[in-house]
Each structure stands twice: as structure tokens, then as C-alpha cells.
């Protein structure tokens, strides 16, 4: 299928869906969900995933379409009381509402064009009059306001802010940037390997001081497995991992294009 229109041109998942419905010359109430889903997914594939947030919105719609598709493939269970509900119903309603606002915004656009032809005049209040400062009756303004009420308002704002704070993530400490070099760590592991030949994963990790070092060490092990310099064995799932160093020398990671 050819993709004549850039996906970025669509304002959102509903917009794309409307475009497909329009392009296929089908009625909104009669969406051939299988065809549309395929075309929709095809569009998403073409999408440059530059903006994850936008991408995810399109994906949610894709998931909705697939969900409807799967529901339609399943035999419909009709209970006595409820009528058979077309799984497309909710989507159709959303699309219809969205379409309505698109239609209205076109009308508004015309109105704006007309209204933009009207000219206004800036105020020309003589300076001696403009200089007049109106006395604002502050007491009257505050007549309904008590200190307690003001306090109440502030508390609700503070509470709202507290609600906004992610209770888990906000407790994460600052990530200290440590200069732990993976290449250096790899050499260290290899040195350790030459020395011990056979060693255990846990004992290797225990030798590490920080969380970051442990992570880098783990990455180093994975890398060494990949290039075939070590072999690992594990009897049971929670057992310690036995590592056998297969080589007799130390390789600089730059040599293997790391």
C-alpha cells in the first residue's frame, strides 16, 4: 500500500482514522474494522518515532482497533437481558463527536475571516481624565473573605501539589554520575578470569563497591559471553552462576569494535 500522506500531517489518532474512513469512502457507522486496522497500522509503521508521546497516542488507537477487531472475530454471546452491542459503537461515538468539532472549527474559521475585517480604535481618553485613579474599595472586595478561608485555599493548593508528586519516584535519590568505564571494567574482569579460571558471579559482584559498578560488571559479563570469552553455567534458577574463563589472554575491547 502506498502512503501518500505524511503521518505528521495528522493531528491525532482520531484525525488519522477519519482520513482513512474518508479515503475508503465508507460510512462512519459501517467501518470495516479489519481493513481500517491494517491501513492504520501501516501508517504507524511509517511514522518516524521521534516523539514518543505522540507515537503512543497513535498506538493506543491501534490497540483499540485491534481490540475491536478481535471482539468481532469472537462469537457474540448474547445474554437475555442485554442486547448485542456492536464493539464499534464507542469508537463511532468518539469519531462522530470529533468530526462534529472539526466541522465547527471550519465554520469558526470562516467567521474569523469575516470578523478580521472589522477595525477597532484604541482608546483616546484625554490624559487628564485617564489619569484619574479609581478608588477601589478593598474592604468591600474582601468582605466575604476570612483569614480562615484564605488559609483553606492555600492548604488545598498545597495538597494539590502534594498529590502531583509521584510518591515513588520523588524518593529516588540523585543519580551520582560516576566515571565507570566499561572497557576498563572488561579488562578487570578478564584479569580476574585469568587469575581464577573458574569463578562465581556473586563473588565477582561482591567485589564491586557501588550499584553502578555492579551494573557495569554485569554488562561486562554479558559482553564477554557474546564474544565467546567466557562460558556460564547455572544448575537451578536461583543458584549462583558459575563462570569459566575460556581464553588465556586479555583482549582490548576496542579490538573487537566495542
Amino acid at each position: 500500500m502506498s502512503i501518500p500522506v505524511k503521518l505528521e500531517a495528522f493531528e491525532g489518532p482520531l484525525d488519522l482514522l477519519l482520513h482513512l474512513i474518508d479515503k475508503n469512502k465508507i460510512n462512519i457507522y459501517d467501518i470495516p474494522i479489519v481493513v481500517i486496522t491494517e491501513q492504520y497500522l501501516e501508517y504507524i509503521k511509517q511514522m518516524e518515532a521521534k516523539n514518543l508521546e505522540i507515537m503512543s497516542e497513535f498506538l493506543v488507537m491501534a490497540a483499540t482497533l485491534i481490540n475491536i477487531k478481535s471482539k468481532m472475530l469472537l462469537p457474540v454471546e448474547v445474554t437475555e437481558e442485554e442486547e448485542e452491542v456492536d464493539p464499534r459503537q464507542e469508537l463511532v461515538e468518539r469519531l462522530l463527536e470529533y468530526k462534529m468539532y472539526k466541522y465547527i472549527s471550519e465554520e469558526l474559521k470562516d467567521k474569523q475571516l469575516d470578523a478580521s475585517k472589522v477595525m477597532f480604535k484604541p482608546p483616546t481618553i484625554p490624559p487628564e481624565i485617564a489619569g484619574y485613579k479609581e478608588d477601589i474599595n478593598v474592604e468591600g472586595l474582601l468582605s466575604d473573605l476570612t483569614l480562615a478561608k484564605l488559609h483553606e485555599i492555600f492548604k488545598s493548593i498545597v495538597k494539590k501539589q502534594a498529590d502531583k508528586i509521584d510518591p515513588i519516584r520523588s524518593k529516588f535519590g540523585k543519580i551520582e554520575k560516576e566515571e565507570i568505564n566499561l572497557s576498563a571494567k572488561l579488562i578487570q574482569i578478564q584479569e580476574y578470569g585469568i587469575l581464577h579460571k573458574i569463578f562465581y558471579f556473586r563473588s565477582l559482584l561482591e567485589a564491586q563497591n557501588t550499584k553502578m559498578e555492579i551494573i557495569v560488571t554485569f554488562l561486562g559479563i554479558l559482553e564477554l559471553i557474546k564474544i565467546g570469552r567466557i562460558k556460564i553455567e547455572q544448575e537451578n534458577r536461583t543458584d549462583d552462576i558459575k563462570i569459566t574463563y575460556l581464553a588465556t589472554d586479555i583482549i582490548q575491547m576496542e579490538e573487537v569494535g566495542f
Partner: protein
């Protein structure tokens, strides 16, 4: 005669103020009650409209403002450079129409209708003074409610929100019936 004088006062007031003035305030300045003042102003509006005049009075949500007639735009731009107004993109227009019809509405509700995040659009519309905060919703997190401004009415040539293009329930119903008929038609073939 008396009325003529009041009309002259009102014209002078509107000319000087330039911006929209609440009818209530005008009433205070011309020493008449609000209802009488409104009638006088409506009378003036009709006359400005029917006579071959260059200016007329528009009404914006209980306030009135003097402005030129749109038909004279061509002559005006011949003599003066008119600063460009904000160009509203389709995204902004779409968001604005949702707010106009559903106000007061929260950002989340807008996003539910559009199916996309709308922070940028809402912020831009606030910046252009087309929408503003209307208070908070009595719901968890007390989200901000948005609604349209007087500037919105002015920019779209609307007297009040009642003059928004109509999308009444019957029209929507028509829309549906039409669509259903179309669907039926297809099945018949």
C-alpha cells in the same frame, strides 16, 4: 430631542473608550436605567446598520463597542497598514471550538475528545487571550476549568456564546439519520 442627546453621549463615550463598555456602566454615565439604555443602544445599532455609515456598534456579552463595517475593509487597508492578527492553526481552531461549546472544560476533557495531548494548544489559546481560566473543577486535583473570553467573541464576530454556529441536538440527530440511511443504502445494493 432628549433621546438624541443621550445617543450623542453614547456615541462619544464609545468613541473615546475604544474598547467594549458594559451597558450597565453606560447607563450610569447617561443617567438612565439599564433597560432604557439598552433599548436606546439597540435603536442606534439598527440605525448605524441601515444608514450608509462607516462605523457601527457591535454587542459582546452585555458590552458594546464601536467598530468599522467589514465591507469597508478594502478602503481602510489602502490607507493604513493593518497588523496581522494571530493565525490560528487547525489544531488551535479545533481545540478552541471544543472549549467554546463545552465550557467550562478541563484540559483532560479536551484531550479525551481530541485523543491527543493538548497542553500546547491550550497554552497558546491562553496566550492569545482567546480562552482563560474560569475556576477549578470540584474534583480530585481540582483541575482548572477553561472558557472563552470577550476577545474570542470579538475575533469571531459573535454577540455572545448563544450565537455560536449551531450544533443542536436535532441537527446531530439528522446527521445520524442521514448516516444510517447511507449505510442502509449500501446494504440494499
Amino acid at each position: 430631542m432628549e433621546i438624541k442627546q443621550v445617543e450623542a453621549q453614547i456615541e462619544a463615550i464609545l468613541f473615546t473608550m475604544g474598547e467594549a463598555v458594559e451597558i450597565e456602566r453606560i447607563a450610569g454615565a447617561v443617567d438612565h436605567d439599564e433597560e432604557t439604555t439598552r433599548k436606546i443602544i439597540h435603536n442606534m445599532m439598527d440605525r448605524y446598520q441601515s444608514e450608509e455609515r462607516g462605523i457601527h456598534i457591535i454587542e459582546l456579552d452585555g458590552a458594546v463597542q464601536l467598530c468599522t463595517k467589514p465591507s469597508l475593509y478594502e478602503s481602510i487597508i489602502k490607507i493604513t497598514h493593518i497588523p496581522k492578527k494571530h493565525v490560528l492553526t487547525d489544531v488551535l481552531l479545533e481545540t478552541l471550538s471544543i472549549i467554546a461549546y463545552k465550557q467550562p472544560i478541563t484540559k483532560l476533557q479536551i484531550e479525551a475528545i481530541r485523543g491527543v495531548k493538548s497542553d500546547h494548544a491550550v497554552n497558546k489559546l491562553v496566550e492569545y487571550n482567546l480562552i482563560c481560566e474560569m475556576g477549578r473543577m470540584d474534583a480530585p486535583g481540582r483541575p482548572i476549568l477553561f472558557g472563552t473570553t470577550e476577545e474570542f467573541l470579538r475575533c469571531f464576530g459573535l454577540q455572545s456564546l448563544d450565537s455560536l454556529p449551531v450544533m443542536n441536538p436535532e441537527k446531530i440527530e439528522d446527521f445520524k439519520i442521514e448516516a444510517e440511511e447511507e449505510a442502509q443504502l449500501k446494504l440494499d445494493i
